[in-house]
């Protein structure tokens, strides 16, 4: 990968390479061959004059796309189980709907769209097999699937374009600012996290919504609700603590003791 940016407000044409780079746009010179690009005098001149700016130039032979994809897939696999639990903690309809909406956006902007088609089909089968009050989920899921794969290509392209633009911007900034790179990585991680979490969340949410009063399901529901309740209550505590005004900082009757705590602690730490 050898990406350059045209920093001018007009397009640049490099005749000996037969390449035209629009204003403020990027171009991967490896597409026309590294060796050929390196021998181009016009390119060299454009670089020296500062018309073109080196954004990224990796060693020839490094297939970065493959490396990134492998890393991403491996990360997806490793995170699936832990994120499944995270989704299960918010099992209400509103959350699942939001998850579907977010998933839709993330999928539209993902380069790995076609690779998760199989996962989608699996999900569709799961959702289709559900009974009970999971009808709304089927509907939403089908809408998502139809929109994503068949009809709303424009939207998909638009969102994909936005993500690519962001990636380009980050690549541009990489040479100048490490901070922006970090931001990009965080953004990428967030996208991946949401994608993986929501995907697994849909799988996890499916059987719960199809529960028809079986004993095991009922227990599972109760446990999850308890976790949700704990989470919600803990969140509320911060707010409630601010409402209190005490007229003291310390309280209590102080008495000295002689229980040999220091010696006992020595004995205990020696033992452990």
């Amino acid at each position: 990968m050898w990406i350059v940016k045209n920093v001018l407000r007009g397009s640049i044409q490099i005749e000996d390479l037969k390449v035209k780079i629009p204003a403020k746009d990027y171009f991967d010179l490896d597409k026309i061959g590294r060796e050929r690009a390196e021998q181009s005098r016009q390119l060299k001149l454009a670089m020296e004059e500062g018309y073109l700016q080196n954004v990224k130039k990796s060693d020839p032979g490094t297939n970065e796309a493959v490396l990134v994809k492998e890393e991403t897939r491996s990360e997806i696999k490793s995170k699936i189980e832990e994120l499944r639990a995270a989704i299960v903690k918010s099992p209400d309809k509103e959350t699942v709907l939001k998850a579907i909406g977010d998933l839709r956006g993330v999928l539209a902007g993902s380069k790995d769209v076609e690779q998760i088609r199989a996962d989608f089909d699996d999900l569709k089968k799961l959702v289709s097999s559900m009974d009970g009050d999971g009808g709304w989920l089927k509907k939403e899921f089908e809408k998502l699937r139809t929109s994503f794969f068949d009809k709303e290509k424009d939207e998909k392209t638009l969102m994909k374009r936005e993500v690519l633009e962001l990636r380009k911007a980050v690549l541009e900034e990489r040479g100048r600012s490490q901070a922006v790179l970090t931001q990009f990585n965080e953004f990428r991680d967030t996208l991946l996290k949401e994608f993986k979490g929501l995907l697994t969340g849909l799988v996890a949410a499916g059987p719960r919504m199809s529960a028809t009063g079986e004993g095991g399901e009922a227990v599972g529901e109760r446990v999850r609700m308890t976790e949700v309740e704990i989470k919600a209550r803990l969140k509320m505590l911060d707010q409630r603590e601010k409402e209190l005004q005490a007229n003291f900082e310390s309280i209590g009757r102080k008495v000295e003791g002689d229980m040999g705590a220091a010696n006992q602690a020595d004995l205990l730490s020696d033992l452990e």
């Binding site: 308890t226 704990i230 209550r233 803990l234 505590l237 409630r240 603590e241 409402e243 209190l244 005004q245 005490a246 007229n247 003291f248 900082e249 310390s250 309280i251 209590g252 009757r253 102080k254 008495v255 000295e256 003791g257 002689d258 229980m259 705590a261 220091a262 006992q264 602690a265 020595d266 004995l267 205990l268 730490s269 020696d270 033992l271 452990e272």
Partner: protein, 360 residues
């Protein structure tokens, strides 16, 4: 060595720390009394030197003063407790807020960020539906928030650390090996330990408060009267047969002891436990405070029996502070290990003696 311990009890909060090499305990009643924040309420409380918290249109008098105000006003309804049955009181709306204020006021801010504090937690009860997860999470979160590095430990294990029961096997004395019972206000906690390692733990959801309620019910008197009578007059060596409250207290105390030993038998059987060497049982907690309690426990234990040999039953040196002292010991030990590790030294290791488990 800077580290702290805190016994978060149903009736009392007891903080413990070392100051100039001496143990200092801070004790406060785990209670509050609510009243409307009317015209002169705050002035009146300030003048009387009471500790209070204002929240909206309510004033909460906290700690020992709460009990005083309840008694002075004759209003038992507004005397409230943030804890019940050993955990945060699920029926008390202000439980968490009040507990957090009290807890911070008792243990204070950490001496440095990340100071170790060991906070006592009950074991899950064998006779009640609830578990202690929420209780633990809330208190752990709060102590972390004010800057401590928190370690939660079983309150009965704290008695083991403080009292150091031992067992002798082949002329070798094994420290921190035995059984401890904490008779608190809300629960009885039991732990079996082998060389400071917890082998068995459980709790029963009845203890001192349960006794008070039962006695109040059968004698048709307020619970506060039972409590007061118990603290003043109950002595198992001299029960006045004409005092109906004392007789009822004796009956329910015995019932509680039988109940606990019964559960202990069951738990030992379920654990398939085998203990070959006679072990010591150490008892602590406010409910065990009346004179003669330990002898009564011994008598009932002898009558019912346990599937393990018992060497002795003894009272903790200070039954009200033993749990906090044990928490402090665990905290100091933890801090020492951490310092040793950060100094690049190998943490002190146990002797190379082969670890033959006492309970298998």
């Amino acid at each position: 060595m800077c580290a702290k311990g805190v016994d978060i009890g149903t009736c009392f909060l007891v903080g413990a720390e070392l100051k100039d090499g001496k143990e200092v305990f801070t004790m406060e009643r785990d209670a509050f009394f609510s009243m409307p924040n009317e015209d002169f309420a705050e002035d009146m409380l300030t003048k009387s030197g009471a500790f209070y918290i204002i929240k909206g249109d309510q004033i909460y008098v906290v700690g020992e003063d709460a009990l005083k105000f309840s008694m002075v006003t004759g209003n038992a309804k507004d005397y409230r407790r943030p804890m019940a049955k050993g955990v945060l009181n699920p029926g008390e709306e202000e439980a968490i807020s009040m507990m957090e204020v009290l807890l911070e006021a008792v243990v204070g801010k950490p001496n440095f960020p990340g100071e170790t504090i060991c906070a006592t937690m009950p074991a899950n009860p064998v006779d009640a539906e609830f578990d202690v997860t929420f209780h633990r999470m809330v208190l752990e979160r709060f102590l972390k928030k004010i800057g401590y590095d928190v370690k939660c430990i079983n309150e009965a294990m704290c008695i083991i650390y403080a009292e150091n029961p031992t067992v002798t096997i082949n002329n070798e004395v094994l420290p921190f090996t035995g059984i401890a019972l904490s008779f608190g206000a809300g629960m009885v906690n039991l732990a079996a330990s082998w060389r400071a390692k917890k082998l068995l733990e459980f709790s029963c959801g009845r203890s001192g408060d349960w006794i008070d309620r039962q006695v109040a019910k059968v004698r048709s008197v307020p619970v506060s009267k039972v409590q007061s009578h118990k603290e003043k007059y109950l002595n198992f060596d001299r029960i006045d047969p004409t005092d109906q409250l004392l007789v009822a207290l004796e009956i329910y105390y015995e019932d509680l002891i039988r109940y606990v030993i019964g559960h202990f038998q069951q738990q030992l059987k379920m654990a398939n436990a085998t203990i070959d060497e006679p072990v010591e049982i150490v008892i602590a907690g406010g409910t065990s405070k009346p004179p003669g309690f330990v002898d009564r426990f011994k008598n009932i234990l002898r009558e019912i029996g346990l599937p393990i040999p018992v060497k002795a039953v003894r009272h903790a040196k200070d039954p009200l502070k033993a749990v906090a002292a044990g928490a402090l010991i665990a905290a100091i030990s933890e801090e020492k290990k951490r310092k040793a590790a950060s100094a690049g030294e190998a943490a002190p290791k146990a002797s190379a003696k082969k670890d033959v488990p006492l309970i298998s």
